[in-house]
C-alpha cells in the first residue's frame, strides 16, 4: 500500500468514527437531535493532496465530463446520465443504461458528491477519482475500454496541450482524465448564499417560512430524520436498510431482468445468492455480510428539489411520497429501526417545506461546452 492510500484510509477511518452515531439498528428518534451532529452549512470541499484543484484542471474536467469519447460508443460521457437540467441525474426512476441495456439503479445527482467519503449507492469506491472510471467502464453505463478511451484523448490536439500543461505528460493519461473530472465535480456544489436553510443558519430568520421552520423542528424532533440526515451534508454517510420496495420494472421487463442478473453476477456473490436474487442487496455486495442486505448509503438531502425521483431505485416519485414512506416507518423489510411517525397532514407538509429549503432557490445549470475535435496524428 502506498503512503498516499494509507493516509487516505486513515482519513476515511477517522471520519467514519466521527460520524459513527447513531447505532445501525437502534435509532432513538426522540433523542435524535441531542446526539446527532448538528445541521450546518457546507464548507467549500477539500481536494485530495494528490489532486489539488486548479482552474485549468477544472476547465479540462468540464470538457471531459461532457465528452462521449470517454465511453465505449463515443456518446455516453458522464453527462449522458448526469444532466445539469435534470438535477445532474436522469430524472427517471432508474437510469437508462448504455445503448442496448438498462441500468438498475437511480442515477444519483453529482451535486455535492464532492463531500462523500464513499460513492455509489453501496459505497463501492472511496473517491471521485475512482468513481469516474467505474462508471465509464461499467457494461451498462459507459462500457468504455481504458486503452481505447485513453487513445481517443491522445488524438485531440487541445487535450494534448491541456494535459501537458496541467499534468506534465507528453500524452494524455487516462488516470489524469479521471482526476480532472473529479476536480470539476468538486465545483458542482450548493452555493450557501442561494440555499434558504443556509441563509437561515447564517442569521436570516426570514429565509425560512413558518411552515419550513415547523418542518425543521419535526426534522430534528418528532420525525427523527436528523438521526441519519445530519451534519453539513445532511447525511451521516452510513448504510441502512429502510425497506424501500424492489423496483417494479424487474418483475417482467426483459431488459431490466437481464441487467439485474448481470449486476448480481458481476458483483461476485455466492451462486445461491445469485440464483435466488430478487432485489438489490446494496452494501451486501461489498461486505458479503448478510446483515448488510438491502442497505444503501444515506443520501444528502441537499438539492433534492431538483433530484426527483428518490431512493436507490427511484421508486418514490415526490418528496411527499418520501415523507409518507417514513411516516409509515419505512418498508416491511427495514432493519434500520424505523418506527411509524404518526405525522398529521399539516406536519407532513411542513416537513416537505423544510426539505425544499435545503435546495438552492435556482438550479445549478451549466451549458454544454464546445468539445475540441479529434485529429489524426501526423
Amino acid at each position: 500500500m502506498s503512503m498516499k492510500s494509507l493516509t487516505l484510509r486513515i482519513a476515511v477511518t477517522a471520519s467514519a468514527v466521527a460520524l459513527a452515531w447513531p447505532a445501525d439498528d437502534a435509532l432513538a428518534q426522540g433523542a435524535a437531535k441531542a446526539k446527532a451532529p448538528a445541521l450546518a452549512t457546507l464548507a467549500p470541499p477539500s481536494a485530495p493532496v494528490d489532486n489539488p484543484t486548479t482552474p485549468a484542471k477544472v476547465e479540462l474536467g468540464k470538457l471531459l465530463f461532457w465528452d462521449g469519447r470517454l465511453s465505449g460508443n463515443g456518446a455516453m460521457g458522464c453527462v449522458a446520465c448526469h444532466r445539469p437540467d435534470l438535477g445532474w441525474g436522469t430524472g427517471t426512476p432508474i437510469s437508462f443504461g448504455y445503448p442496448g441495456t438498462q441500468h438498475w439503479r437511480n442515477s444519483q445527482t453529482i451535486l455535492n458528491s464532492a463531500y462523500y467519503n464513499k460513492l455509489f449507492w453501496e459505497g463501492s469506491v472511496t473517491s471521485l477519482e475512482a468513481q469516474a472510471p467505474a462508471a465509464a467502464e461499467g457494461a451498462v453505463a459507459g462500457n468504455g475500454d481504458t486503452a481505447l478511451m485513453e487513445m481517443r484523448l491522445r488524438l485531440v490536439p487541445e487535450y494534448r496541450k491541456a494535459f501537458k500543461e496541467i499534468f506534465g505528460t507528453e500524452w494524455p493519461n487516462i488516470n489524469d482524465a479521471w482526476k480532472a473530472i473529479a476536480a470539476y465535480q468538486r465545483t458542482i456544489v450548493s452555493d450557501p448564499k442561494k440555499v434558504p436553510f443556509d441563509r437561515y443558519l447564517a442569521g436570516d430568520k426570514s429565509a425560512l417560512s413558518d411552515s419550513a421552520k415547523k418542518g425543521l423542528a419535526l426534522f430534528e424532533g418528532k420525525a427523527g430524520c436528523i438521526s441519519c440526515h445530519n451534519g453539513a451534508l445532511v447525511s451521516d454517510q452510513k448504510f441502512y436498510n429502510t425497506g424501500v420496495p424492489a423496483a417494479p420494472e424487474w418483475q417482467k421487463d426483459e431488459l431490466y431482468q437481464i441487467t439485474f442478473r448481470w449486476e448480481v453476477y458481476q458483483k461476485g456473490v455466492d451462486e445461491k445468492v445469485y440464483r435466488t436474487a430478487a432485489d438489490d442487496h446494496g452494501l451486501y455486495y461489498r461486505t458479503l455480510d448478510p446483515k448488510d442486505i438491502g442497505k444503501f448509503r444515506t443520501p444528502s438531502l441537499r438539492e433534492l428539489k431538483y433530484t426527483a425521483p428518490f431512493m436507490h431505485n427511484g421508486v418514490l416519485a415526490t418528496l411527499k411520497d418520501v415523507v409518507e414512506f417514513y411516516d409509515k416507518g419505512g418498508g416491511p423489510t427495514q432493519t434500520a429501526g424505523l418506527k411509524p411517525l404518526k405525522l398529521s397532514d399539516g406536519e407532513k407538509a411542513d416537513l416537505v417545506a423544510f426539505l425544499e429549503s435545503l435546495s438552492m432557490t435556482e438550479p445549478l445549470l451549466v451549458a454544454d461546452p464546445k468539445l475540441p475535435p479529434s485529429e489524426p496524428l501526423k
Partner: protein, 394 residues
Amino acid sequence: MALPKLRSNRAHRASCTTRLLASALALLPLTSASVIAQTAAAPVKPPAVAGVDMAKFAPLPAAAKVNEARVKLGHHLFFDNRLAGDTSNACATCHDPAKGWGDGKPLSDSYTSLLYFRNAPSLLNVANRKYLMWDGRLEGADLGTAVRDMLTEAHTMNIDTRLAQERLKQAPDYMAMFEAAFGKGDPYGGKIYGAIAEYMKTIRTTNAPFDKFLSGDASALNAQQIEGLKVFAGKANCVACHSGATLSDGKLHVTGVPDNPDVNADADRQVTMLRHFATMGTPAYMNLRQDVGHYVVSKDKKDLGRFATPSLWDVGQTAPYMHSGMLKSLEEVVAFYDKGGGDAPAKSPLLKPLGLSGEEKAALVAFLGALTGDKPAVAKPALPKDAPRTHGTN
C-alpha cells in the same frame, strides 16, 4: 456442464474468467487433431500437368467432425446482435457470407463510433489455418479465443461476456439450444465461444474447380486455367508460399503491400490501430504510423509489416485484398507480384520481378478463379425472442 461455482470474493473473478476460457478451449482439441489427420491423408492422385510438381497441392482438407447441436447454436449466435455491447453488430456484420465471409470493404468497419484499420479477413476454411488474424497473433487451432477476442475487444463488439450470458438467458429458445449443445446450465462465455467456433468449422469452400481437379477430375480446369496453374507453380512461383491443402504455407511474410492511407487520415481509424499497438505492448507505439503487422507479437524489427499468408481458396469471393485492402482485384494482385511486390526494408527474398506477359497474367487470374467455389447459401436464421422470466429464479 454446470455453471462454474460463483465465488464470493471479487479477487477470484479473474480466475473465474480463466476457467471459463479453459472450458472454451476444452471444446476445441477435437478439431485441431482431426484437421491434422485429414491434411495428412493421401487423397486421389491429381492429373499430371507438364512442368508442375503436383505434390505441392492437395485437395481441401475434409470437413471437420462437428457437433451439430453446437453448430446450430453457433449459427444463430453468429448472426445475433445480442453479442455486441450496444447490440449494434454481430459476427456476420463484418463476416457476411454474401461478401465472401468478409465485408467487401478495403478496411473493415468497427464498433459504433470507430473505424477499423485492417481488412476483415474471410472466414472461409478458417478451421484450417496456422494463424488467425492478419498479424498472426493467435494460433489457428484456437478459434474459441479468436471468437472471445472479437466479442470482447473494444473495437469489434465490446461486450462484457457476462452480460451476453444474461441476454441469452432471457431467450427461452436459446436456453433450449444451449441445453442441446452442452447440457443443462448457464450459457456462459466458454459455451458461447465454443458454439461459434464450432459453426466456423463449417464455413468451407465448396465445388471449387481446382479442388475437383486435384481430386481426379481433369476436366475441371479449362486450358487457360491449366496455363495459369503452370505460371502459378513455375515462372511466378506463387506456390512458394501458396501450397498444400490450404494454399498457404502457414507462415508470415513481408511483401511490401502498401498501407491504406485512410488509416492515418481519419482519427476514428487511426485510434483503433494505435490502441491495438498499445494493448499489445508494442515499443514506442505512439510514434507508429504504419501497420507493423507481426511486430506487435515478436517486437522484432524484422517482423515490421509481416503478415500471415492467406489461403487462396475462394479468392474470387473475397475482394478487396491484403491486410490493407489496397488491391481491389485479382488483376491488381497479379500486377503487384509481377513487379516483385512493394517496398519494405525486410521484404521477403522470395519476391522478385516476374516479367509476366499479358497472357500469363490473364492465365494466372483465370487459375485463381478456379480456386473459387460456390456462393455460400447461408441465411440469417430467425433469432430467438426474449421472454420475461420469473423474477428471483435466476
